[in-house]
Subunit: 430 residues, 2 copies
């Protein structure tokens, strides 16, 4: 099947992925004489930096998502299609979906990262990562369910085992998740249960390398570690998860029976990168040319997390500002092509980074300025509210945060379940 639109004299730009990069590309191409097709397998943009807030029952999925059709509908030269790209055919300049295929003049690939278990694929169902809304709801359900099950348990040592949570990986995702889990335990769980006491819960953050937040200067990382330990999180650097099965886990051989494990230790470029015939780095990212295109394929841009771009000997990290800057660069290249001008190389402007640790602490870096503690947390909140896409969400999230912060209360503690059709025979009771 071909796309339901008449052939057009202007070039066709296909953008795959409705994350920060894909949306910024659509926006930057708004006044360029092209027609755009934006394709995503989901019908919404996801504000990934706040996924951990959904996982820890502070925010709802609707707070950190916005329908792509709302975000793009006023853009006259772009149509939105929901679909799953199964293959890219760079020779024929087309993408192949389940039942359809679409030809492109330019391709902007912005499909990002997926969870990666470093050779332990069997761990995937046992240790949910934090890349999708469903991941975050699964983490939330496992976290809350552990408390509900412990509430039935008479034996304190067994309760302590059931309430052991291991977060693997102390990058910003792992830090944010561990910090928020610890705060939820301290601020919410202590009011909620009769048998379970909050001090029975234990949150262990496991990191392979020698410091938390491996990308950061050691002194700032040290301050972050101090802050998260103050929240009650046990940090174990130079440590590894060595075992994981239905009965529990082990860290460097030491067993933690009945523990619940969450995965923040690795991501990898989405599979479609392999179709491009381009070199990939160890993380499955496409090593791009200076103009963010695939070597030898001037019409195929790879942007955002999926692109490996080096500047001054350092790899540009996978953060939203990088994806947005690459998207704008791709749009500029396309415009210059149409104007008959030569392309310029991409230059990344590093705005810094911020990672939050619980509800009023963080570390942030902008250029050579480093802040930590409450001032960094304010920076983090402001940055995230500015970037949060939909207006409705921005208000809703601000209200929820403010309430949670002032009242020390967490909001959305529902344990979701996959839909199972209810028949008379199999219906469960209660």
């Amino acid at each position: 099947m071909t796309p339901p639109e008449a052939p057009s004299p202007v070039p066709h730009v296909v953008v795959v992925g409705g994350g920060f990069g894909g949306l910024a590309a659509v926006k930057a191409l708004r006044r360029v004489p092209v027609r755009i097709t934006l394709i995503d397998r989901r019908n919404f943009h996801l504000f990934q930096p706040l996924l951990y807030e959904v996982a820890t029952a502070t925010l709802s999925p609707a707070d950190i998502t916005e329908p792509l059709r709302t975000l793009v509908k006023s853009r006259g030269n772009c149509r939105v299609l929901m679909g799953e790209v199964t293959r890219v055919d760079v020779e024929e300049q087309r993408i192949i979906l389940r039942a359809e295929q679409i030809s492109y003049d330019y391709l902007v690939l912005a499909t990002g990262f997926r969870n990666h278990y470093r050779g332990n694929d069997a761990w995937a169902p046992l240790a949910p990562g934090l890349k999708t809304i469903e991941d975050s709801l699964e983490i939330r359900a496992r976290f809350l369910r552990a408390f509900e099950q412990a509430e039935w348990e008479l034996d304190e040592s067994r309760r302590r085992e059931m309430l052991t949570f291991i977060v693997v990986g102390a990058g910003s995702t792992g830090m944010e998740l561990a910090g928020a889990l610890s705060e939820t335990v301290r601020r919410v769980m202590n009011h909620d249960f009769r048998t379970v006491r909050p001090e029975e819960a234990r949150i262990i953050l496991v990191e392979m390398s020698a410091q938390v937040l491996p990308g950061l200067p050691p002194n700032l990382a040290e301050r972050a570690r101090k802050q998260i330990e103050d929240l009650g999180v046990e940090v174990r650097t130079e440590a590894r998860l060595t075992e994981l099965n239905g009965d529990g886990a082990a860290i460097d051989g030491k067993r933690f029976p009945r523990a619940t494990v969450f995965w923040a230790a690795g991501v990898r470029g989405t599979r479609v990168a392999e179709d491009l015939g381009a070199p990939l780095d160890r993380a499955g990212r496409v090593v791009v040319d200076p103009d963010c295109t695939v070597p030898g394929r001037r019409e195929v841009f790879v942007i955002g997390d999926l692109a490996r771009f080096e500047q001054d000997g350092r790899v540009v990290t996978g953060v939203a500002p990088a994806a947005i800057q690459m998207a704008r660069h791709a749009a500029r290249c396309i415009r210059r092509d149409l104007d008959g001008k030569s392309r310029k190389p991409f230059e990344y402007f590093d705005k810094g980074m911020a990672a939050t640790i619980g509800r009023s602490a963080a570390v942030a870096r902008a250029g050579r300025v480093q802040v930590s503690g409450f001032p960094a947390w304010v920076v983090w909140v402001v940055l995230h509210l500015i970037y949060l896409v939909g207006f409705r969400n921005r208000v809703s999230v601000a209200v929820q945060w403010f309430t949670a912060w002032v009242l020390g209360k967490k909001g959305v503690r529902l344990i979701g379940e996959p839909w199972v059709p209810a028949t008379d025979g199999s219906e469960e009771i209660t």
Copy 2:
């Protein structure tokens, strides 16, 4: 395993189900010298009357739920346990869960209704009902996905088939669902798509009996029918769904290929009713004695939807006020037992009913007063906000409604999916 609490000299009341009835029972027993265990298979109270708003992408699950532990925690004589009752043993006075059992002195059974397909269990996966949060998210996903798929389709007549939605059953749930679906199409979908036009969508409401809202006086039902037809819903009374499979459905033999079907045609008492050794009516409800107990089992109360109670020759309908009144009655009976007084029979005070039809129309009845149209809608909104349990939710829902009504906009259009663990091998791209 026995419950983790020491034996107590006061009677143990086990309440099963955290809906309107169960919660009202806990509240009414607050100052009665008993200890209470509230058991539910979910960790939240669900405001069922607004489930259709989640299904039609106006509200989020968090808007119409509240953690049971938030609602009950201040009640000193009640503990909350999450668990699934698999059987009631009325002889031994205990309930059996998956791995645990709990003895009771009094049992208050408030487990309500489940979806019922009237001998067509195979239809369950094809036509989601509207009893759980997962049901409503499944309806939402199917509704939105139909539009996303139609957007790919070039052929208009095939698009019209793909955009045919059949709601089976024109009770208040079916009316509310059909009306809200139609409004979503008219107010949202027309801005969102390029290929799909809103007039290509068709919403058919199928009802077996001769009028919509079968419980209501015919003249009021006629006004409701007029209002929902004005919203663009095709109403077919004295009609039946005769076929349903993966390719579509049929109404009285007429085929609707590619149609999406939602089920609001039947509910039935939860299975646990069968364990009581008591007579059940055709809907699987327990025919209770005048004091709302199982005949011959003075210590087993059945309240809410699961109870069949007749007053002045009419069956008390399954609405929240009935469940709440029965709960209070059960609490009064228990107190009178403890005081050595004799029980009084339950008397139902009928407050009337209200059903909404879209965003500014409704029908309502209170005693002999009948209203329809906008005034009835105002009554409906006020009633529902008053009953909506948590304070946070009340504000959030009011804001969402107001925004949706003023701006003609619908909010929460995310298509959710069941969680599938992501491994490198099976990961889907885009």
